[in-house]
Amino acid sequence: MENSIIVYKSITVANRAKRLLEKVGIEASIIQLAAKFNIKGCNYAVKIKRRDFKQAMEISEKMGLKIRGAFENGSDEV
């Protein structure tokens, strides 16, 4: 599995995360989270390359972005 998934509190936070990550050269796209990830309700996440996961988490934490869940071993299918 090459991708990681970070689930944010809302689509707004996900957009903020995407733009912050792109500023430091991390390729990111927003997805709606599938039910199989078991975080209930409609959720939005940022999909990134697995190699960028640690840095993306650090940036999110540093910028105070609210995270609902993180999957380092995300799915290629999403």
Partner: protein, 378 residues
């Protein structure tokens, strides 16, 4: 038509605002943040870009603290009714619009009106005199929609902080022509119009809510997330964003803000101020004409009357004989008209200049006033 009613809404808008509105509506007119398909995600990104632009112009640290609303009135209602409880006390000023006065009255809380000084200015001292022990909220109109009056936000916010009060600024008339820095000015809540000097479409406005403010919701509903919860989410801005957003208009507002930032707020103010002063200079000595708040330095709004004439009739004549559009009456600001002494005479004729007006139009408006006044020499 010479349009001199820019305080109601600016007209025209920059070409790029019209273009942006149409392109977003046509090309990504999906519901923002309501699904995982490409169009919905693109629409949500447009709204986020607008958030960033609004953050830039008001020096807001976190774009999530901005809630888009259909207008300033909605933003003010959300702030006032979300913060005040019936046992609280609030301070407002004589230059407030009904979009503040009516929600304040509706809350049932006690309030005190801080009076303007003889020039028509709201001073820090006046605000301080109105503060009580249980004052929770101070609401100030940054710039009047009737006369030129502008509040000194730095001094007023210092007074608010000193007394432990929240500060709500109504920036309907000032956003886009006066510098507003929510951090420097310690503003807790900022309500703004998108369709006035930020040059966006009608149906746009917003509310900034700082982290320290406990604000209840005015409406609840779908937010695109936390869908299994039967209560509104607690995160910003979704807590205050129930229902479908007006994506084309919000994206076009961002273009309006881009236009303002690229021309410079100071330059825009100076252009409008040049028009205002030129107009004032030309009409101040016309017989039978009363110019209000002459001694004030302020925004692009000037109220006048012609003695012996109903202001609405003056407005009608300006349109019929000179093709000039102005706003006449009370401008939804009854206390301000008490201050000006125009409460019992039907209000005033208000001229408000915008970025797309020019000196030729000012000359024409001054000429029109001279001709109308000439006919009614008392």
């Amino acid at each position: 038509m010479i349009y001199l009613d820019n305080a109601a809404t600016t007209f025209k808008k920059p070409e790029r605002v019209y273009k942006k509105f149409m392109s977003i509506w046509r090309e990504m007119g999906a519901n923002a943040g309501r699904g995982g398909h490409r169009l919905s995600l693109k629409a949500a990104e447009q709204i986020f870009i607008a958030r960033e632009k609004i953050s830039e112009i008001f020096s807001i640290k976190n774009p999530e603290n901005i809630v888009f609303t259909p207008n300033t009135t909605t933003a003010l209602n959300m702030a006032i009714k979300g913060v005040l409880k019936p046992y609280d006390h609030a301070v407002i000023t004589t230059i407030e619009h009904n979009s503040v006065l009516r929600p304040i009255v509706k809350t049932g809380c006690e309030y005190t009106v801080a009076e303007a000084d003889l020039k028509g200015e709201i001073t820090e001292e006046s605000i301080k005199r109105a503060i009580k022990k249980n004052t929770k909220l101070i609401v100030v109109n940054h710039a009047s929609n009737v006369c030129k009056s502008v509040c000194d936000l730095e001094k007023i916010s210092a007074a608010a902080k000193k007394h432990g009060c929240l500060l709500l600024v109504d920036a309907a008339q000032s956003a886009g022509v006066l510098d507003i820095n929510v951090l420097k000015n310690n503003i807790d809540l900022l309500a703004f119009a998108g369709h006035k000097s930020l040059l966006g479409p009608m149906g746009t406005g917003g509310l900034y809510i700082s982290e320290n403010v406990g604000c209840d919701t005015l409406i609840e509903g779908g937010s695109g997330g936390d869908s299994l919860s039967l209560t509104q989410p607690d995160n910003m801005p979704e807590r205050f964003t129930a229902g479908t957003q007006n994506t084309p208009a919000i994206a076009a507002l961002a273009e309006g803000v881009n236009f303002v930032l690229s021309h410079g707020i100071k330059n825009i103010f100076m252009h409008e101020n040049l028009l205002l002063k030129s107009f004032e200079e030309k009409i101040k000595n016309i017989k039978n004409t009363v110019v209000y708040t002459k001694d004030l330095e302020g925004v692009n709004v000037l109220s006048i009357n012609i003695k012996g004439r109903d202001c609405v009739e003056v407005g009608e004549e300006l349109e019929k004989s000179f093709n000039i559009a102005v706003r006449c009456g009370y401008h939804c600001a009854p206390l301000c008209h008490r201050m000006l002494g125009t409460y019992d005479m039907g209000g005033t004729v208000r001229f408000s200049f915008g970025f797309f007006n020019n000196l030729k139009q000012v000359d024409r408006a001054a000429y029109a006033i001279m001709k109308i006044a000439e006919k009614y020499v008392i």
